[in-house]
């Protein structure tokens, strides 16, 4: 067995030993629980589910934060919009949300501080302008998405449809399965992502990233503590398949995530992405991870990925009519 494989086995065994999570030691002087070996305790099951959009909608152009009454009205607007009874059959919106509210798990609340966007920098709450090269990548991706109806191969589908990964890091709140479990052991933090059941194993310390020729679906992460905040830097992404980079970025994007436990039931999660070949400046998102009272479940996407088979079957049926 190669040393790298042995190391992986060790990490897995170490994590298995603490699965169910290591008991937290007493709360420290700062009010943050610590693990028995003294690290801030982030362990538990969490959800980043929220109705707050990534970018500030035009209707709130100059309003970064809503009042309580405005927030309640906005939440109602978003929930009602997802209600199938308010939709017009046969419209584009109807098709985009081909499963009614029942099948989704978006929640019904915006973030507790009532911001109108998850993006906190730039201050306008919008993704910075794309470079010309990134605009071209976005256009190509849209064309490829439209062409899935005529797919010749599974290779024509993105990483999500192919059950490789849900999406590139960092993870935003999506339609369902927005759940995560954090497990810690001395020297490592592991994050199990319910969709699609990947585990990020993050070594803590100063060891360098993998060589730049090694590229991984979830990149290569290294973590360290800054006070009570876990800071994770991730590089070495891949553009091997459609959808394997974040928001039309290149594989050279750099991701810095910050996890800070702010209460028994909340982690303040922030990330900054930078890639000069994609955006004219770095940008930052702030969103809560809220504790859930329950387990996360397996999401073995490959076990019954009939959708891929059916889409290819539909494309062949379309061919036969030509």
């Amino acid at each position: 067995m190669r040393p790298a494989a042995l190391a992986t086995c060790f990490v897995v065994l170490a994590l298995a030993a603490v699965h169910g999570q290591a008991p937290a030691a007493k709360t420290g002087a700062t009010g943050v629980s610590k693990t028995p070996w003294g690290d801030p305790d982030l362990q538990g099951t969490w959800s980043n589910q929220t109705l707050t959009p990534l970018e500030r909608p035009a209707q709130f152009k100059d309003k970064p934060v809503l009042t309580e009454a405005e927030a309640a009205a906005y939440e109602k607007q978003l929930v009602d919009a997802g209600n199938v009874d308010n939709r017009t059959p046969g419209t584009v919106q109807d098709v985009n949300l081909a499963y009614n509210q029942v099948w989704w798990d978006r929640g019904n609340r915006i973030v507790a501080d009532r911001r109108t966007s998850l993006i906190v920098d730039p201050p306008d709450g919008r993704i910075p302008p794309l470079t010309p090269a990134a605009q071209k990548r976005r256009e190509e991706d849209r064309k490829a998405s439209d062409n899935e109806k005529f797919a010749a191969s599974w290779l024509d589908f993105d990483v999500y449809s192919r059950c490789i990964i849900r999406s590139a890091l960092p993870r935003l709140s999506t339609g369902y399965n927005n759940n995560y479990e954090i497990v810690q052991s001395p020297g490592y933090v592991a994050i199990v992502q319910e969709q699609m059941h990947e585990t990020r194993i993050i070594p803590l310390g100063t060891q360098p990233h993998l060589t730049s020729t090694v590229r991984q679906w979830l990149g290569d992460s290294r973590g360290h503590w800054e006070g009570n905040t876990l800071v994770v830097e991730t590089t070495n992404f891949t553009d091997e398949a459609r959808g394997s980079t974040f928001q039309y970025a290149t594989r050279n994007m750099k991701l810095v995530e910050r996890f800070t436990r702010t209460s028994d039931r909340t982690i303040d999660y922030q990330f900054t992405v930078s890639d000069p070949d994609t955006w004219t400046r770095p940008w930052t998102v702030k969103m809560p991870w809220n504790r859930i009272d329950g387990l996360i479940y397996e999401y073995a996407c490959h076990e019954g990925n009939l959708g891929l088979e059916h889409m290819l079957s539909a494309a062949r049926a379309a061919d036969s009519k030509k």
Binding site: T91, N96, L97, N100, G107, E194, G304, M311, A315
Partner: protein, 135 residues
């Protein structure tokens, strides 16, 4: 407020949500938006598989024969959390399904709306019951 205004607001809001949320795969690559269908049938079996649950129903045709239809539903994890367990949808239950037919002509459809025959919804969805999760 005119209906068109309501529709415009709904479309705007949906666009906001949809940008971050899509089903596991493209709807329009698997199903045909021009073929809406309504089926009434008896649950024959339920496949609790990822990434989508499949509900198989026997649909009685006007000539008295039956044919089997497969209905694509949500992810098992979400359905389980919403209360759709083995006990909630036993074999033999009669349900009504609205959705769209498969593009390849097979007897499959997506299950956009599912109700019991008396009109009760199988599930009420995430618009109620989980207030605590996003705060």
């Amino acid at each position: 407020m005119k209906l068109t205004h309501i529709a415009a607001i709904a479309a705007l809001a949906l666009g906001t949500i949809a940008s971050a949320a899509r089903a596991h795969h493209s709807f329009s690559a698997e199903f045909d938006v021009n073929k809406p269908i309504k089926l009434q049938g008896t649950v024959k079996r339920v496949q609790w598989i990822n990434p989508h649950t499949w509900i198989w129903i026997d649909v009685k045709k006007p000539d008295g024969t039956t044919e089997e239809w497969g209905i694509e539903a949500g992810t098992p994890n979400t359905l389980f959390r919403l209360g759709l367990t083995r006990e909630a949808l036993p074999v033999g239950t009669e349900i009504v399904v609205s959705g769209y037919e498969a593009r390849d002509g097979a007897k499959r459809a997506n299950g956009r709306d599912m109700t019991f025959t008396d009109g009760r919804k199988l599930l009420m969805g995430s618009s109620i019951g989980n207030d605590a999760q996003s705060k």
